[in-house]
Each structure stands twice: as C-alpha cells, then as structure tokens.
Symmetry: D3
Subunit: 115 residues, 6 copies
C-alpha cells in the first residue's frame, strides 16, 4: 500500500539523517521515546493507546500513523481503537475530526497493505 | 475545481466510514457539531464566522476550508471574511499566516468552482 | 468586585510597564490589537465575540476575561454569550470546560461589580 | 484537604451554573463527556488514563486533577500512574513538567484527604 | 530544487493576494513581522533562530521552512542549527519529531538548490 | 521576594518528589533537559533565550519564569530580553500578552529579590 510505504520510508530515511547529524540531545530524545513505550507496570498495549490519543489531541498525523501501526501490531481491534480515539475526540473537540478522518484512512491502508 | 472536490469527497467518504464504525461517542460529537451552528440567539452567519476563526487560531486547514464554504453559502462577502480572519491573525500571531494563505487560496477556489 | 478590580489593575499596570520598555515591536502589536476590534465591515459586537471564542479555544483565561467585559459593554446578552462560547466548546473539546467555568464565574463577577 | 475540596467545590458549583444557562449544545457536550469514559471494549481504567494523558499533553491542570481523582477511584497505583504520565511527558516535552509537578502535588493531596 | 521553488512561489503569490485584499490589520501584522527580525540589541542571527524554534515548537512546517532559509542566509551552520532545533525538541517533545524530519529534509533541499 | 521564593521552592520540592518515584523515563527527560541548555556550537546565552521564547509561545508561565532567572544569571540585559520576547509575541500573537505581563512582573521580582 503506497500510503504506508511512503510514510514509513520517509520516516526511516529522515530519522537516519537526523541521528547522523551527531547531536547528542536529539539522540537521547529518540532513545527515551523508545523506553517510554516498553513493558512495565502498564502493558505495551495500553501505552501505545496512550501515545495514540496524546498524538491525536495534539493533532500530529504522522505520530498518529506511527501509533496506529503499533496498535495494530499489538493486536488492538477496531472497536477498541475507535473507543480510544473517541476519548481523544471528546477531550480535543471537533478540531480533531480531520485527523480522525486521516487516522481511519490510514488504519484501513494498514490492513489493505497486508492483504 | 479539483481542490474543492477533493476535499469535500474525502471528507464525506471518511465521515461515512467513521460513523459506520458504530461508536456512539463519535456519533454524538458529530451530532452536537451540527447543533452548534444552527440558528438561535446568534444567527448562523455569526456562528460560522466564530467556527472559522476558532479553526484558524487552532490552525486546522480542513476545518477552515469547511467553514469557508459555509461562510460563502451564508453570503459573507470578502471584506467581512478578511476582517474575521484578521482577528484570528492578531490573536494567533504570524504562525497563522501559512493557514491564512491556504484559506485565501481555497476561498478563491470556491469561487472559481462555481464560475 | 475584587476579581474584576484585581484583573484590570494588574493588566493596566503591566501594560504600562511593558510599553515603557520602549520596544517598538511590542508597541506595534498592542496598536494593531486595538485596530483589529474597531468598527468595519463587521460590527464591534461580532468582532468581540470572535476575539472571545478565539481566546476560549486557545484557552487563555485573561484574554477571555478581557473580551467578556467588552462583550458586556457592547450589550451582548447571556443567551448570545453562551451560544458563542458553545461554539468554542464544540470546536475545542472538553479541555475547554475549566475555562468555561472561569468565564461564567467572571461574567457573574462583572455583573455583580456594577450592582 | 483544602486543595481537593476547593477544586471539587468550584467545579460542581460552576457546572451547575453553566448547565442552568439552558444552552443545549453545552448540555450535550457534558453528556457525551460522561459517555466517553463509560465501560466498553476498553475498560474504565484504561479510558481514565487516556483522559489523563490527553489532559496532560494539552496542559490543562483542572482536567488532570479530575482524572487523577478518577484514576485513584479506579484503583490505579502510583507506579502505573507515573508510567502513564511519563508517556505524556515524552510526547509533550518539558513544557509538561510544571503540570507534572502540580499533578504529583494533587495526587498526594488526594491521598492525604482520605487519611 | 522543486521543494524550495514550490514553497517560495506559493508563499509569495498568496502574500500578494492577501495584501491586495486591502485589510489594514493584516497589512500591519505583515509589517511588524518584518520589524521583529531586524537588527537591534540582539543580532539577526539570534532572532532568526528564535523564530525557527518558536515555529518548531508551535509545529508550523511553513514557518520552519521560511526561517531555515533565513538561517542559512545568515550563515548559521548545521551544528548550530541542530542545537537550536534540539532545544525545540526537548521543550516541545516527540510530537515535534515529524516536523524535525521535514525541517532536515528542507534544509538539505535548500543546500541542493544552490549546488 | 516572595514570588521568586515560592516558585523556586515548589519547583525544587516537586522535582524531588517526582524523581523519587523512580520512573526511569521521567528521570531521563530531566537529564536531557539539562543537556539541551549546555554549552556547544551555540553559547548558553542563546540557548536560554531559545528556551524562553519556546516557553513563551507555548504559554507556560512556570517555564518562562525558570528561563527568565537563567537569562538574568547569564547576563542578558532588559533590552535584549524584550527583543527576544517580542519575537515570541509576534509569532504567537496577542494570546501571548497575558504571559508577557507575568514575565515582566517576574523579571522585576527577580531584580527586586537581590536588591
């Protein structure tokens, strides 16, 4: 699926470019980003939904896309996903709707890409 | 006009997809969204401008596009539109300018699409 | 009413302090701020409501307070005010509610202060 | 504990005031707000953490306070709470830290208030 | 380089369109925008980095692009640029990362466009 | 000066409380926060102003207070400070003004506290 490949390709290419700049602060932020979603007192599934909803209310499409893929990998099903996003919609208001549209579209693209 | 058709097409298709998910919270948010812009103590024209400026300062291009179409349908003329948007620009700062550019572009596309 | 006097007193004192710093950019922003809400193709009443709703969705209590006073001075009645703020609530989500509470409280304080 | 009582008192008093204004849009937003956190495909515990983290990254202290109380009522323990908030901190950045300080302070106040 | 030309072309065309609308408030905001980055107690280099980081934490790609070009024109080198952006990343959190990716991509495009 | 002591006291007390929770993600964010403002290709003075303006446009009073103290310690004088903040005001709009008022007030408190 082009949408998924394009996003993941750009993401990986630019992360490589950024980390090769040698900036230590940026490198550490990337590292703590990984740590934040690792298993602990809360399981990964919950943490990925927390990341998704935080991204949704802050209205970052790319962050939403990333967490949608991770949510799918962790076995979160559509009914759970929409419930999680509905919390974000209520908290963040109708300004979130365009991002919800793109999220639903990408969620479908993720499933189409493995068909 | 392609810009208008593309936006409205995606919007309608994804709203249908989202509502068919059956999530009741999302459905109710869509419903209250309609209610908020209906006639009351303030007329629709004013409410649409309120929605436009709220969308502009929150910097949501899709929301701005939607309210631009509605403002046009309600008979708001260009001088009024730019005055409304100028309030958003002053409150929201120069960070709003790129969204103002896309708003002006879409406003022109809306007029070109009916020519 | 203490709440009104305290807010207006601090606002005026600090605006004076800031403008006396002699920074020309800041001075011009203050000046364009006044211009934005002056009479034009849209009347002042509408512009004040635009400023109010922009402030509400950006969740700035002090800005909301300022526009509440101006809305009251322009003769906006409670039913209109709540309709305007309800647009902000729908666009901005439940995150706006705490600001709506403080807005309602200040609206009442404004009326009590003239009793 | 004064901090808890003051917050809850103001919240309840102003919600009553706002709902008595008779605005139907506002009333429905309050209603869908309750629905969003009810049991479903995700349990209440998870939804409350989603609400907490959404509130934290949007940096609304009052919303954070509300969800902290609900998280405590749902039996979320401190280690889980800080893990949830750490996701919000990573996503939202150090700008979140002052809100994290107030959250930790209120979390302690909630426990002190029942001692 | 297409990315640079496309952005600059649209920016200039729409700024012309907007200013021709004759709205005085908008005109003055554009004017104070220029003044803010002029030489003073702080040199232009520092001011452009301030504008860049402000744009980055507010997550406005177009504003970031503009300031990247200006930073390059002022002789800011890559190590300085990434240090400035790393401050924005820490303050603004991982939600900034997608904008950092697009910034790094545009920075490279700016250099490729003059090769 | 009470304002300065109160802020710094609460900040230090709660940072201690938060770090004692033992959450590793939070601990690392605090650590990278320190690293971001250390000497490098840009000097500390510039980095503190970047942190100040980022905090101002994101409208976090506590973050602004922290960077004001650091700016003062680094020898930034009032004219430079207001120029830096004026960039934030232009980018962020009049919604920034209430935070500018509190910033000016705290800047004066910082100077009064050492008199």
């Amino acid at each position: 699926m082009t949408a998924v490949k394009d996003f993941e390709g750009f993401r990986q290419r630019m992360d490589k470019r950024i980390l090769e700049s040698g900036n230590k602060v940026i490198k550490r932020v990337y590292s703590v980003d990984n740590l934040a979603y690792s298993d602990g007192a809360l399981d990964i599934k919950v943490k990925e939904m927390l990341g998704l909803v935080a991204s949704l209310v802050l209205r970052c499409d790319d962050c939403v896309k990333y967490h949608l893929r991770r949510c799918k990998e962790e076995g979160i099903v559509e009914e759970q996903l929409f419930e999680a996003m509905s919390v974000g919609l209520v908290v963040g208001g109708t300004i979130v709707i365009p991002h919800l549209r793109r999220a639903a579209d990408y969620w479908d693209a993720l499933h189409a890409s493995e068909a």
